[in-house]
Structures are given as structure tokens and as C-alpha cells.
Amino acid sequence: MSATAVHSLWTTAAEPIGKITAPKIEYAQLAPVLIVVGAAVLSVLVEALVPRRGRYHTQVFLTVVALAAGFAAVVGLAAGGYGSTKAQIAAMGAIAVDGPALFLQGTILLASIVAVFTFAERRLDPAHHGHRVDSFAAEAAAVPGSEQEKAAVKAGFTTTEVFPLVLFAVAGMLVFPAANDLLTLFIALEVFSLPLYVLCAVARRKRMMSQEAAVKYFLLGAFSSAFLLFGIALLYGYAGSVSYARIADVVDGNVTAMDPALAATMGNDALLLIGFAMVLMGLLFKVGAVPFHMWTPDVYQGAPTPVTGFMAAATKVAAFGAMLRLLYVVLPGLTWDWRPVMWAVAIVTMLGGAIVAITQTDIKRLLAYSSIAHAGFLLAGVIAATPDGVSSVLFYLGAYSFVTIGAFAVVTLVRDAGGEATHLSKWAGLGRRSPLVAAVFAVFLLAFAGIPLTSGFAGKFAVFKAAAEGGAGGLVVVGVLSSAVAAFFYIRVIVLMFFSEPKVDGPTVAVPSPLTMTTIGVGVAVTLVLGLAPQYFLDLAGQASVFVR
């Protein structure tokens, strides 16, 4: 290769400056994301400029309104046919606006609104000096146990940084399942992960545990991001592009013109398989699938409970959305390569989550392992590789998020002197002391267990049916068996709540403000409605199951 030839690889004849064409951005189609990002920026300004007295109300109002407006925009787009006939690629190929994207964005926004109510809850802890406090650190920058922190707690400080952080996280999650090229995917991942790392670290009580959780989450998350990024680089080497459509074309062998710079690597299957495996690992980390689940229990336990609920629901929705798009849009030609691997991952995830959960003694860790098992069930639907598989996963995600947020909201209510009483032994006899709270939690547990007449059953049935039709009957059998194992530990909590004698020094159930009540109420309502009459939502998910390419 001559020197001039090499030189021509990285230089090109300059064009006149005036000829650069502006990128075409479809602002209307991107409205849900733009509204939330705009509100997040505004929220930062509120934090800086609005006096402390009015900040809390301003922030809560802004956050809820922005998320609701984002949801309205999603509904408007869906009503305008962007979910079906007018589905298209927007923003120069970076974002897909199609059925799955809109369905998942709608789910994320609704779940976030409900979750934000628990963020804004200020009635659970006793008031400090007339200041009502929330679940977040009085002064996050203070060293745990220091004089500074004690002073801040004593003074009843509250902070409102969590709201801009949530908004940024939601913005990232909205882009994640809609990302139509690998770079957008990566950026969206970082945009929602970084605020989550911070959110995990700001618990008011048990601060060391919270910070430990954040560090673990950050380190492992950074690790998985690195895998993802490396995978992206390899896939670029394989296809000469980061765009999903272009990679898919190369996989299918429709591209003959090679980029001269990549002539040596393009079309190299080793790059494709390794790169793809690494990207998939990044995503499996986010959904908490075995063997990439190690962070889940620690982070779920350490993070402030409202954050745990939000994270467990919304992150899972976003990550599964991204995974579906990657597998169904980019790699349909590789189905026979990824299916066996995903089979194995799904089986160990279902069984691992269910079996390890049995030994847990902390309610938040228990729910963490349960979320791992659920990730396994969802993977069974992903593996179906049929439109039914997509719609069943979409439905399951919608059903699951509200059960999860509701369940964690109940966890915030059960308190003793040290804050939330998350050790299972403290929940003994809760059903005698507060029948209503225990009954509501039992409904959530039964939904997790997939008992008929709850949303959990409808979702599980949809996913297993899709898997069986997609030729994954073996996964259905494993899924059914691990459901039986999982049922055991959900039932154990119910036994504890209803059939055990309450302890003398047991926890009390705090009376929440209407905010948390709304969260729990919505959770119960969605659980029962999706259990008894899932028709409308299954329809919706069915219509939204076609990806644009």
C-alpha cells in the first residue's frame, strides 16, 4: 500500500463551508424525549435559582407535569399512526419511532410518574424541627457519621436534587429502547445509568450501605459499559457502520461495496460474533440476567427504596426494549447463533433467581432475586423470535413495572426506629396489625408468583405461550418449574405476614400521604385490571409489536 493511498484514508478534499447541510431533526416525533430532557435542564435551573422554601413543590410539580406531558406526546404520536403505518427512523437514523418504541416509552413514563410520587413522599419519617423529610440524604455530600451530617439531619435539611436526576435518567431510558444505532444506544445507556448511580448513593438512613451499593453498581456498570463499547467497536469493524439497518444488511449479505478502510475486517464473522456477544453482555447486565446479576441484590438492598422501585421497573423496561430491537432488527439473520446462548442464559436466570431467593432474609434482596427470575421469564419471550414474542414481552414489562413499584412502595411503609424494617423476621404478623397493607402486599406477591386473576399470570401466560409457539417448549417447562420454586418464597412471606404472631417490638406501618397511596393504589388497580381484563392491553401490545427498520 503506497503512502498516498494510506493518506487518502483519513483526508478528503475540502468542500466549501456553505455546503454542509443541516441535519434533519423530526422534532415532533422526538417530542417525548425532548420534553423530558428540557424539563431536566429546567429542573437543574430550579435547583439553582428557586429559593429553598419553594423548591420542593416546584420540583415535584415540574417533574410530574413533564412526565405527564411526555406521556401525552407518546399517546399523540401513537394516535397519529407513528406506532404502525407511519413508523419511521428519525434524527438522521439515530432514533426509531415505531410501535415498540412508543409502547415502551409510554410504559416508562407512566411507571416513572407513579414512582416519582414515592420520591416526593415526606410523611413517613417523623418530622425534624418541623421539617418533613423524605427518603433521601439530608446532605449527600457530608461524610456518613460526621458532625456535618449530624447537624444537617438535626436541622431537618432536605434536598431536591433527586428530581433532575430522575428526569435525566428517564430521558436516557426513553432513548434506549428507541436507539437505532449503536452509538445512540451507548449514549442513552450512560445518560440513564449515571443519574442512577448517584440516586443509589443518597439514602437518608443506612448511608454506608447506600454508598456501598452505589459504588458496586458504578464499578460493575462501568465494566459492562466497557464491554458494550468494545462490542460496538468490533461490530463497527465488521459492518463499517454503527447503524442498525446497515449492520443488518451486512449480516444478511446484501452489501457488496466495501469500505476500503475496512476491507480487511468487514464481513469477518469472528468480529460479528464476539462484538455481538459483548453488546449483549452489556444489555444482559442491565436486565440483571444470570450470570451478570451479581450487582442486583446489593444495589436493590442499599439504594433508597423509592429508587429501587423506580430502577427495578423502568431500567428493566428500557433494557429489554433495547435488547428486543437489537435481536429483532439487527440480528434476525443470526437467530440460530444467538438462540442457544440465550436459551442457556434464560434457563440459568429463571432457576438461579428462583432458587437463590429462597434463602433470602431481607425483603428487598428477596424482591431483587425475584426480579432476576422475572428477567428469565422475559428472556423466554424474547427467545420466541416471533411478533407474538415481542408483544408478550411488551405486555409483561408493562404489567411487571407496576407490580414492582407498588411492592417497593409498600416496603417504604413498614418502619421501625431505624427506618424501614426490611428484615423478613420483622414482617411477622403484619397481617394482624395492618390487614390492609398486608393484603395489598399479598396481592403484589401473588402477582409476582403468577397466580391467575393477577397481571402476573396474564403476562407469564403470554410469554410462555409465545415461547411455546416459537419452538421453545423446553423453556416453558423450565419456566413452569422455576415458577413453582418462586411461588414457595412468595408464599413464605404471606405465611409470615398472616399466620405468624406479631412480635412485641415489631415495626409499625406509617400512614403515608396521598402520594404513596396513589402509587400503591395504581399498582393494585393495574395488577387486577390486567389480570381480569387484559384484552385491551394485549391488543395494544400486539399492534405495537412491529419494528421499523
Partner: protein, 523 residues
């Protein structure tokens, strides 16, 4: 559109359950009367179903069909055949007695916090179980049936675990632990069975494309729906496993003695006389209709298991020291007879099995409820703690004896008819099995009479001396049941008239003819 009688029959107890649960904590007695009222209203509706049902008419009558979940191909489809009518009538009949018998079982021991309402919960749960059981006898959509089959576990679980037998030997804490063990065992056994059935339900959908029992059975009968032999067998096994856990069949029976021992007597009746019938009913309705060839294929194995159940249950009943566990093992033996009758594949056997379901329900209810009255007086479930009760409480002893004689199938009492039919039907096709099953009768005589002898006869024990005889409420429970046992023992025709046409349909499903010219027995 005609009046949706079947839906209303199931909806009334469900509404009653919700209203009962909503009664304020202080108005306990009102909740009881409300529950009793709704159970009686259900009985009236069930009677209407029986009257409106024409034995000679279509196979499924009073049908209702509405779209429910289109994506899953699920419809809300109801319809009853003679077997369903008989079991709905049994359920609706027993629940008022269960409620009356359990009148004081859920009274709070002391006034705890005012929001804890065990009494309301107890009666609401009973009505909820009734609603689900009735609807499951009516469902002709496999998915709908599955949902009810699973969902009814939850109220049953709370009934077993939450309202244990006060008269437990040993300390209170120990009792609570055993009770929650029994409840969890009950739930896990049945849940595992149900989940395996779920896999089979999904498999059936993949093969058949919808869940309608009538449509699938028709497509199978006229050859439109071919199933590979191995597929059919796997699906059959998935369904049968769930029903065999519920029924319960040896070796999946071990949850029953725990559950019946720890539950209060009325709840034990609910388990064995009502809920377990769903298992045997479903074998007749779903296993035989959907998978006729696989059913025939599995018959020898199932008959062997049924025989083991009969003999094993009876033997263990002989060895029991606990009255309620004894009745539980006797029930396992009787369920063996029912399953034997179903899979003997003769019309006498299957009519006998259906009659047996009804008669076993009534006779076990009678025996168990009197036993419950006895236990609540003395505060012990151990046989050894009793003796000479007949001198102190002759009416109680007398009703106990009649219940026991019904359990051992004395001629003249209802269970005799059904047991005789099952044995005749079995002998016609499988003589050896018929002979082995007969030992169950001999053993039944042994355990029942020994139970009576040890508790009721002999010298009066000191602790028993002051036992009061049956009270009016208890007599109201027991007298009608005994009257019914005698009536159906002498004149079973009303029941056989309803059941026989349905059995003929089932027999033609599995393409079986009776080995000999059909004997219109018991007519």
C-alpha cells in the same frame, strides 16, 4: 339473550363474599347471617339449574359464551352436563351446612385490634371458594377452568392456615406452626400440579389453536385435529398430574391428611367434599374428552395407582390415632374408588364414580362435621382421649354412627349404590382390579367400626362425662345430611337420571363400549 343462570349461580356467592368481608368488625353475627343468606340463595339458584337441565337434551346446556381475551383465544364459555349439575348441586347444598357448622369457629379469641376481622374473613373465604368451585364445574373453556383451578387455592390456603383447629394437642405456638406447615404443603403441592398443567394448557393451545372444550373435542372426534401420539400423551399427563394431586391419588396424596388434620372440621369438609371433587370431575371432563386415546393408553397404570390408593388409604386409616386424619385417609381410599370407576371405562363404573363424588361429599360431610362437634367439646383430636360417649351424648354418638356406616357403604345408605356400581363396572372389565378393590370395603368396615367402638362405647372416660349432647344448631346441620344419605340410598333415581346421559357421552368420547350389554343398574 336468555338469562345467564350459570353466571349468576357463581356470581351470587362471589358477591356475598365481598359483602361479608365488608361488614364492620363489631358486627360479627351480621356477617354470619349474611354469609348464610348468600349460601342459601346460591342453593336456590343451583336448584333452578337442576330443574332447568333436561337430562335427555343436548350434552351441554344453559350455555353462555362471550369473548374474553382474544389474543389468547380465550372465551368465557359456560355449560353444564349432568355430571356438572350433580356436582353444582352438591356444592351448593353443602356450603350452608359448612357455614352453620363453622358458626363459632372463627370468633376471635380475645378482642384484638379492631381492624382484624377473622370472622368476616372466614365466611367470605368460604363463599369465595364456593363461587370458584361452581364456576369451575361450569367452565367449558380450558383456560377459564385453569384460572379457577389455580385461583381457588388462594382462599383455601388462607382458610387452612388462618383458621386452625382450636382443639389441637400441644401448645398454641406448635399448633400455629403445624397449621402453617399444612397450609403451605397444600398450596405447594397443588401449585406445582397446576403449573405443570399450565405447561400442558399452553401445549394444547399450540396444537389446537383455541381453548374451547367443545370445539377441540369435536375437531378431535371428526378427525380435523390430529395429534401426534406422543404429544397427546404428554399433554394428557400434564393435565392428569394436576388432577391427581387435587383428587388426591397415591402417591401425590400426602398433603391431604395434613390439611384436613389442621383445618377446622368445616374447612376439612370444604377440602375433601367440595374442592377435591374438581380434580375427579376434571378427569372426566377434560382428560377423557380431550385426550381419549391417551386416556385409554394410561388406564392400566392409573388403575394400579387407584387400587394402591384404595388399599393404602384404608390401611393407614386403620392405624390412625387422630380422628380427623383417619377420615382423611378414608377419603384417600374413597378417591381411589372414584378414579377406579372413571378409568374402568364402563358406563356403570363412570356413573358409579359420579354418584360416588356426590355421595362421598355428603357422607364425609356428615361424619367430619359430627367429629368436629365432638372434638370441639373435648378439645382433643386423639381417639384415645374418648370413650363411652354414647352414654353421655347419645344423639351425637348416633349421628356419628350413621355417618360412619355411610362411609363404610352400608346398604341402604347412599354410598353403597355408588360403590356397588364402581365395583360392578370395574369387575366387568378388570376382574382382578375389582377383587382387589373389594378389600377396601372390608378395611373400611374395620376402621369405621373400630373408631366408633373406641370413642363411643366402653366405660365413660372422666373427661368425657360432662360433654353436652348436640345443640339445635348442630342438629340443623346433621339431620338433613343424614336424611339425604338415606333418601339417595333408597331412591337414587333422580341422581342417576341426570348423570347417566352425560356418562354415555363420555363413554362415546373414549370410544368404549361396555364389555357386556349395558346393564341399567340402579334404575
Amino acid at each position: 339473550m336468555s338469562f345467564p343462570l350459570l353466571t349468576v349461580t357463581a356470581a351470587v356467592p362471589a358477591v356475598g363474599a365481598i359483602l361479608t368481608a365488608a361488614v364492620p368488625a363489631a358486627r360479627r353475627t351480621a356477617a354470619k347471617w349474611l354469609a348464610l343468606f348468600f349460601s342459601l340463595a346460591t342453593l336456590v339458584l343451583a336448584a333452578a339449574v337442576t330443574v332447568r337441565f333436561e337430562p335427555g337434551g343436548d350434552r351441554y346446556q344453559l350455555t353462555e359464551s362471550h369473548a374474553w381475551i382474544k389474543e389468547f383465544g380465550v372465551r368465557y364459555e359456560l355449560g353444564v352436563d349432568g355430571i356438572g349439575v350433580a356436582l353444582i348441586a352438591l356444592t351448593a347444598l353443602l356450603i350452608p351446612f359448612v357455614i352453620l357448622a363453622g358458626w363459632h369457629d372463627a370468633d376471635p379469641l380475645e378482642t384484638k385490634s379492631s381492624r382484624w376481622r377473622p370472622t368476616q374473613g372466614f365466611f367470605a373465604l368460604i363463599l369465595m371458594v364456593e363461587a370458584m368451585v361452581i364456576l369451575s364445574f361450569e367452565a367449558t373453556d380450558v383456560f377459564l377452568f385453569y384460572i379457577l383451578f389455580e385461583a381457588m387455592l388462594i382462599p383455601m390456603y388462607f382458610l387452612i392456615g388462618g383458621f386452625g383447629d382450636r382443639a389441637h394437642a400441644g401448645s398454641d405456638e406448635n399448633a400455629a406452626a403445624q397449621r402453617s406447615y399444612a397450609a403451605v404443603k397444600f398450596l405447594l403441592y397443588n401449585l406445582v400440579g397446576g403449573l405443570i398443567m399450565l405447561a400442558a394448557v399452553i401445549g394444547l393451545y399450540v396444537v389446537a389453536g383455541n381453548f374451547s372444550l367443545t370445539e377441540i373435542a369435536e375437531a378431535r372426534a371428526n378427525g380435523q385435529l390430529e395429534m401426534a401420539t406422543s404429544t397427546e400423551r404428554w399433554l394428557f399427563l400434564g393435565f392428569f398430574f394436576a388432577f391427581a394431586v387435587k383428587a388426591p391419588l397415591w402417591p401425590l396424596h400426602t398433603w391431604l391428611p395434613n390439611a384436613m388434620g389442621e383445618a377446622t372440621a368445616p374447612v376439612a369438609v370444604l377440602i375433601t367434599a367440595v374442592v377435591d371433587k374438581v380434580g375427579t370431575f376434571a378427569m372426566l371432563r377434560f382428560c377423557l374428552q380431550l385426550f381419549p386415546e391417551a386416556s385409554t393408553w394410561a388406564t392400566p397404570a392409573i388403575i394400579v395407582l387407584a387400587l394402591i390408593s384404595i388399599v393404602y388409604g384404608a390401611l393407614l386409616a386403620v392405624g390412625q390415632r387422630d380422628i380427623k386424619r383417619l377420615i382423611a385417609y378414608a377419603s384417600i381410599s374413597h378417591f381411589g374408588f372414584i378414579i377406579l370407576g372413571i378409568f374402568a371405562m364402563t358406563s356403570q363404573g363412570q356413573s358409579g364414580a359420579t354418584l360416588y363424588m356426590v355421595n362421598h361429599g355428603i357422607s364425609t360431610a356428615a361424619l367430619m362435621l359430627v367429629a368436629g362437634f365432638l372434638i370441639s367439646r373435648r378439645g382433643s383430636r386423639l381417639i384415645a382421649d374418648y370413650g363411652g360417649v354414647q352414654k353421655v351424648a347419645p344423639v351425637l354418638a348416633g349421628t356419628f354412627l350413621i355417618g360412619g356406616l355411610a362411609t363404610l357403604s352400608l346398604p341402604g345408605l347412599a354410598p353403597f349404590v355408588s360403590e356397588f356400581l364402581v365395583l360392578v363396572g370395574t369387575y366387568a372389565r378388570y376382574p382382578v382390579a375389582g377383587i382387589v378393590a373389594t378389600t377396601g370395603i372390608v378395611l373400611a368396615a374395620l376402621y369405621t367400626l373400630v373408631l366408633y367402638q373406641r370413642t363411643m362405647t366402653g366405660p365413660v372416660k372422666e373427661e368425657v362425662r360432662s360433654l353436652p349432647d348436640l345443640r339445635p344448631r348442630e342438629l340443623t346441620v346433621i339431620v338433613p345430611l343424614i336424611a339425604l344419605l338415606i333418601f339417595l340410598g333408597v331412591y337414587p333415581k333422580p341422581l342417576t337420571d341426570i348423570v347417566n346421559p352425560a356418562v354415555r357421552h363420555t363413554m362415546s368420547d373414549v370410544q368404549q363400549k361396555d364389555p357386556r350389554p349395558e346393564v341399567e343398574a340402579a334404575k
